[in-house]
Structures are given as structure tokens and as C-alpha cells.
């Protein structure tokens, strides 16, 4: 399936990226939602259905794992070594993309400054 192999190649959707990062330390569903909302100043909200299906996919791809808690209703998630690897790869990939775009934007800025 195309989705899984994209994950395997280390390409994460925005939602998967945010969720994976929020479970570097053990975290659970509601707090994952809140963490992302708080950090991005409510710019990024993840709907419950998107959250649930993405958690399922990440579990199936062995990028995160479940941990038991005392409360049966709360399921804790934590990133796996494999998930950590994929997250790192995707951070590098995204950093490269940003550096690339910034390079040309700065070039353009300099060019327009020189013309003035």
C-alpha cells in the first residue's frame, strides 16, 4: 500500500509527523491533541478521527507502541526506535527542503536589493 511504504521511506504526513513527535515521551490521545494545539497556538488542530486513524497506522508500522496504565481507559503511546529513526530522517528531509527554498528566496531578495 502506498501509504505504508511512504512511512517506511521516512516520509511522514504533517499529522503523522506531529503525532510521532508528541510521543517521543509517553503520551496519550487527549494530551497529544492538546500538546499540538498549544504548541502551534491553535494553528494546528487534529480531529479525533484523523488522530485515531493515524495512531492506528503508526502502530501498524511499528513506529509507536502502547504502554499500559493503571486507568484502563487511558492508553499511553511511546515512539519506538524504528519510529525515532523515521522521525529523524524526516526532520533531515524537511530541513533540507527549507534550506533549499530559503536559499532561492534569499538569492531573489539580494537580486532585487541590488537592482535598487
Amino acid at each position: 500500500m502506498a501509504r505504508k511504504s511512504a512511512l517506511e521511506e521516512g516520509i511522514l504526513t504533517d499529522v503523522a509527523f506531529y503525532i510521532l513527535a508528541s510521543v517521543v515521551n509517553k503520551n496519550h490521545g487527549y494530551m497529544i491533541m492538546k500538546d499540538i494545539q498549544d504548541f502551534t497556538n491553535n494553528q494546528i488542530t487534529i480531529g479525533p478521527a484523523s488522530l485515531y486513524t493515524t495512531l492506528k497506522k503508526l502502530l501498524e508500522a511499528d513506529c509507536i507502541e502502547r504502554h499500559k496504565t493503571n486507568d484502563e481507559n487511558i492508553k499511553l503511546y511511546k515512539i519506538t526506535p524504528k519510529g525515532h529513526n523515521i522521525l529523524q530522517k524526516d526532520i533531515q528531509r524537511k530541513e533540507q527542503m527549507i534550506a533549499f527554498a530559503r536559499h532561492f528566496i534569499n538569492e531573489h531578495k539580494e537580486a532585487t536589493n541590488n537592482e535598487q
Partner: protein, 173 residues
């Protein structure tokens, strides 16, 4: 008259318009309760008018965490039909349950797989039944009749599987 019954338009085809209708009914005080007659109808009960909105998610094999996540986001569980159509209600203005296009599209892939398989299997049975009828029509009329009955049943199953499958395929584009 405390109950109202809506015909289920088929969740593959008409989910959005159904939700709109449910919201309008809720504003008039008719609140969604559950499926009846195996999902042929949706039962509405008389209650307080509200501008709360509904949504539906199709998801197999959900657990308590699923409903907890929805409740945290403001969506109260109304009922679940066929173990996979989950109806929720939330105050007007609550954020949608799918916030990115990718997972939203995948919502249908489960049902698409089921209806696709169903259409395929019933289609094959239908063809075999027709062949059976053709070959035994003159020689073994009893078998031909059995073939006819099987064929008829599989035709109905086929239609019920094939049409949603096409609708979901078409929706993907």
C-alpha cells in the same frame, strides 16, 4: 407523534446531505436516536430543538479510546450501526473530526474493500448461477430453479455491494 423515520439514503452516496437533513431536523427538535429495520430507516425522537450538529465516521473495530477521543473533542456518541457507522453530535461550531484530507479519504477505504469483495464474490456466484440455469434448463429443471433462486439472491447482494463500491470509487476523484 413522538417518532419520525427517515429512509437511509445509503451512506456511500448521500452522507453529506443526510447529515445536513439531520441537522435541520435537530433544529426543529427531532433528534437522531438510532437505525431501525437493520439500517433501512433512521429513527428520530421528539426533543428539544438544538443547533447542535451531527457527523458520522466509518471505522471498523473501534475501542473505548476511540469514543474517548471524540468526546474530548466535543463529539458525543449517539449510536453505532452495523458495528462501523458511528454517529456523533456536538455543539455547533465544533471542529470537524477529520482535519486533513489524507485520513479523510481513507475513511472510505475500509468500506470500499468490503463492498468491493462483496461485489466480486456475489458477481461470481451470479455468473455461476446463470450458467447453471442455462445448462440444466431442459435436463434438470429442479437444478435450474435452484440456480434461479441463487442467482436472484446473488443479484440483489451484488447490487447492494456494487453500487456503494462505485460511489466510493467515484468519491475518491
Amino acid at each position: 407523534m413522538n417518532n419520525k423515520y427517515l429512509i437511509n439514503p445509503g451512506l456511500a452516496f448521500a452522507e453529506d446531505s443526510l447529515i445536513k437533513r439531520l441537522n435541520t431536523y435537530a433544529q426543529k427538535g427531532w433528534l437522531l436516536e438510532k437505525f431501525t429495520c437493520g439500517g433501512t430507516f433512521l429513527k428520530l425522537v421528539k426533543g428539544q430543538p438544538t443547533d447542535a450538529i451531527y457527523c458520522m465516521d466509518s471505522q471498523k473495530e473501534v475501542d473505548q479510546e476511540y469514543f474517548q477521543l471524540f468526546e474530548n473533542a466535543g463529539w458525543k456518541h449517539v449510536f453505532t450501526g452495523y458495528d462501523m457507522y458511528h454517529f456523533f453530535q456536538a455543539p455547533k461550531g465544533t471542529a470537524t473530526i477529520y482535519t486533513d484530507p489524507i485520513t479523510a479519504k481513507e475513511k472510505h477505504s475500509d468500506i470500499q474493500a468490503i463492498t468491493g469483495k462483496g461485489a466480486f464474490i456475489s458477481g461470481i456466484i451470479l455468473i455461476l448461477a446463470i450458467l447453471l440455469q442455462i445448462t440444466t434448463l431442459n435436463t434438470l429443471p429442479l437444478l435450474a430453479t435452484i440456480g434461479f433462486i441463487i442467482g436472484f439472491i446473488s443479484l440483489i447482494v451484488f447490487i447492494f455491494c456494487f453500487m456503494p463500491w462505485v460511489a466510493y470509487k467515484w468519491k475518491k476523484h
